[in-house]
């Protein structure tokens, strides 16, 4: 292996170079040239940052769905929990008795981000032991229920209206920008580079994981849980572990999103976003780590096109139509394009190859 670069390493270097180039371009705007002007307004840093945030979630979701074969229709719940964890602990630290000396320090937001991901990962590990015993449709239903439950809990102020931590429908506003000492990770091109640095690290982590004994165990569980266990693969533990990793990544993405938007509302993390994530995963290719950035970008771009062009074609269409479009697209992709943009093997909806004599 030494001295030779693998395809993934090359892809990784290209992606890193792209991120740096775009960051530099948007940071300096030489001669007034900018990304939106080069792409007729389609590519903006806003879109690329959201794609980076989704990439982080999708690496986890692809490990869970594409590799381990465990369907999650509630992944946005972990995303939302991470976002609100950061929002509440940075904006409303005083409400829950955290001294200003701590909550005002530059490192506080970073600590909250990491601790949030760890706590949400650990919680989902426990949830995993319970719900991952379910298979197929039942698991899909359970995660769907989990997603809706979390959404309602956020919307209903965690059932503690007096503390008003989540802000109900209105969410939390005034989430501070991230800082490293005195260095502000803002304006937006700096934040873009931060998000994609995390996203690329997540991709590297995912690539290493799927090439390891753990990745093989996950795929074996996907292929035949019975056979995997007959080879001493501790299927329940690995399934719970990979759910925990995917939840922690989603929570981390949620924190990054919260500090980007500076405001969070529960509606961002409901059922439709969960469906959107599954669509991104399918479009990019579920059983593929590189599917994550491609799926996120492709679906966000498509959405952008739909948003700007659809009203021209169907006047008066708006709002709820998004869910219909996602649903339709998902069905079409799964039916006719199960490998997505980058996938080698189809996702969890694949029928196991018939092995009859």
């Amino acid at each position: 292996m030494r001295g030779r670069l693998s395809g993934s390493t090359v892809g990784f270097l290209i992606a890193a170079a792209l991120v740096l180039a775009i960051g530099w371009l948007e940071g300096t705007r030489p001669g007034g040239v900018s990304l939106p002007r080069l792409t007729a307004g389609l590519l903006t840093l806003d879109l690329l940052i959201r794609a980076g945030v989704f990439t982080i979630i999708l690496v986890g979701l692809n490990l869970l769905m594409g590799y381990a074969g465990q369907v999650s229709l509630g992944q946005a719940a972990f995303y939302g929990l991470g976002a609100f964890f950061s929002a509440i602990l940075t904006v409303k630290a005083r409400n829950i008795g955290i001294p200003d000396v701590v909550a005002g320090a530059w490192w506080w937001a970073w600590v909250v981000m990491v601790v949030g991901a760890v706590i949400i990962g650990a919680l989902s590990y426990l949830i995993g032991w319970a719900i991952l015993r379910l298979r197929g449709h039942y698991l899909a239903m359970a995660t769907l229920g989990l997603g809706i439950a979390v959404f309602i809990i956020l919307r209903e102020n965690l059932g503690l209206p007096r503390l008003n931590l989540t802000g109900g429908f209105d969410g939390v506003v005034g989430i501070p920008r991230l800082r490293i000492g005195a260095y502000l990770v803002w304006p937006v091109h700096r934040y873009f580079m931060l998000v994609w640095a995390v996203a690329l690290s997540t991709i590297a982590l995912g690539l290493n994981l799927v090439r390891s004994r753990i990745g093989r165990a996950l795929r074996a569980i996907h292929g035949s849980e019975l056979a995997a266990e007959s080879l001493a693969v501790a299927a329940p533990r690995y399934k719970a572990q990979i759910l925990a990793i995917s939840a922690a990544l989603a929570a981390l993405a949620g924190s990054l999103y919260a500090h980007f938007q500076a405001a969070v509302v529960p509606a961002t993390f409901g059922f439709v976003p969960s469906l959107q994530l599954v669509l991104m995963s399918a479009v990019g290719g579920m059983a593929s780590i590189w599917g994550a950035p491609f799926g996120a970008l492709a679906v966000l771009l498509l959405e952008e096109l739909l948003r700007t062009k659809l009203a021209v074609i169907f006047p008066g269409v708006k709002g709820e139509f998004e869910a219909v479009a996602f649903g339709l697209l998902l069905v079409l992709v799964l039916l006719f394009w199960p490998r997505g943009l980058t996938g080698r093997t189809p996702g969890p909806l694949r029928r196991p190859a018939a092995a009859k004599g």
Binding site: N208, L209, S212, G223, A227, L231, A232, P352, A355, G357
Partner: protein, 270 residues
């Protein structure tokens, strides 16, 4: 493990003891009061007509199903209540009557999953690709290739496992099970669907596996194959153990003959 028996006794201790096992599905009894012993180093056979409870017995031994009553002891220790993967971790490997190949993985990767048990690198090692995990991975690949060579599958190592013909999928399943380095290997109808020539090769392979120190427990419908291979045979019929002994004796056992004749009659009637 309070008392360590003398060395001679250890050799004479049974590897697996099935003690008065009963299993029912709902009201339907599948096994009744079945007891037998597997000694280390033997090829033990289990025969019986369809529906006698052979596969159920396999599923009980490997922990896929819990028994209604009775005990199963492996190296003197009860395995009842242990999850399937832990029983496999004790050194009991198996193949399946309906092959359970990992589709979407290559032939080599299928065998590498079998080596999972002997690798130690965890999530963190995997995520950062530590030196330990890379060394372990290299060693595993080497071992897997050696196993595939032994089973004449090396030239197909990088093909998708599901693209193998059925007979070779069965062979791959045996190689994969052996990769776990088991002490006891359970083979569920390994001859089903194989041609005469393939069956001959299978017999040689099973003998070699035993000679390499693995105890074999074999369910087989094919009497002929069983008779030439097993050191000792147990016969099940209609949920009960009806005979046990050397193959020649079993072949001439009136109860066994009646069971198989009965099956033919039942078969004719349908």
């Amino acid at each position: 493990m309070l008392q360590t028996p003398a060395r001679a006794d250890q050799a004479a201790a049974p590897l697996l003891e099935v003690r008065r096992i009963t299993k029912a599905f709902g009201g339907l009894v599948a096994l009744q009061d079945v007891s037998f012993v597997i000694w280390p180093g033997q090829i033990k056979g289990l025969i019986g007509p369809n529906g006698a409870g052979k596969t159920t017995l396999f599923n009980l031994i490997t922990g896929i199903l819990p028994p209604l009553s009775g005990d199963i002891r492996y190296r003197g220790r009860s395995t009842i209540g242990l999850p399937q993967y832990q029983i496999a971790g004790l050194g009991i490997a198996r193949t399946f009557q309906n092959v359970q190949i990992f589709a979407g993985m290559t032939v080599l990767e299928n065998v590498l999953v079998g080596l999972h048990r002997h690798m130690r690198s965890g999530l963190l090692d995997a995520a950062i690709r530590s030196g330990r995990s890379r060394r372990e991975e290299q060693a595993a690949h080497k071992r897997a290739r050696a196993l595939l060579e032994e089973f004449d599958l090396l030239d197909r190592a990088d093909e998708p496992a599901e693209s193998l013909p059925f007979g070779l999928q069965r062979v791959l399943e045996v190689a994969r099970a052996l990769a776990t380095a088991p002490s006891l290997l359970l083979l569920d109808e390994p001859g089903a669907g194989l041609s005469g020539a393939e069956k001959g090769r299978l017999t040689d392979r099973i003998r070699k596996i035993r000679d390499d120190g693995v105890t074999v427990f074999l369910v087989e419908h094919d009497m002929e194959l069983m008779m030439g291979l097993a050191d000792e045979v147990a016969a099940l019929d209609q949920t009960m153990l009806i005979a046990e002994g050397p193959p020649a004796a079993i072949q001439n056992d009136p109860a066994v003959i009646a069971a198989y004749l009965g099956e033919e009659e039942r078969g004719d009637a349908s």
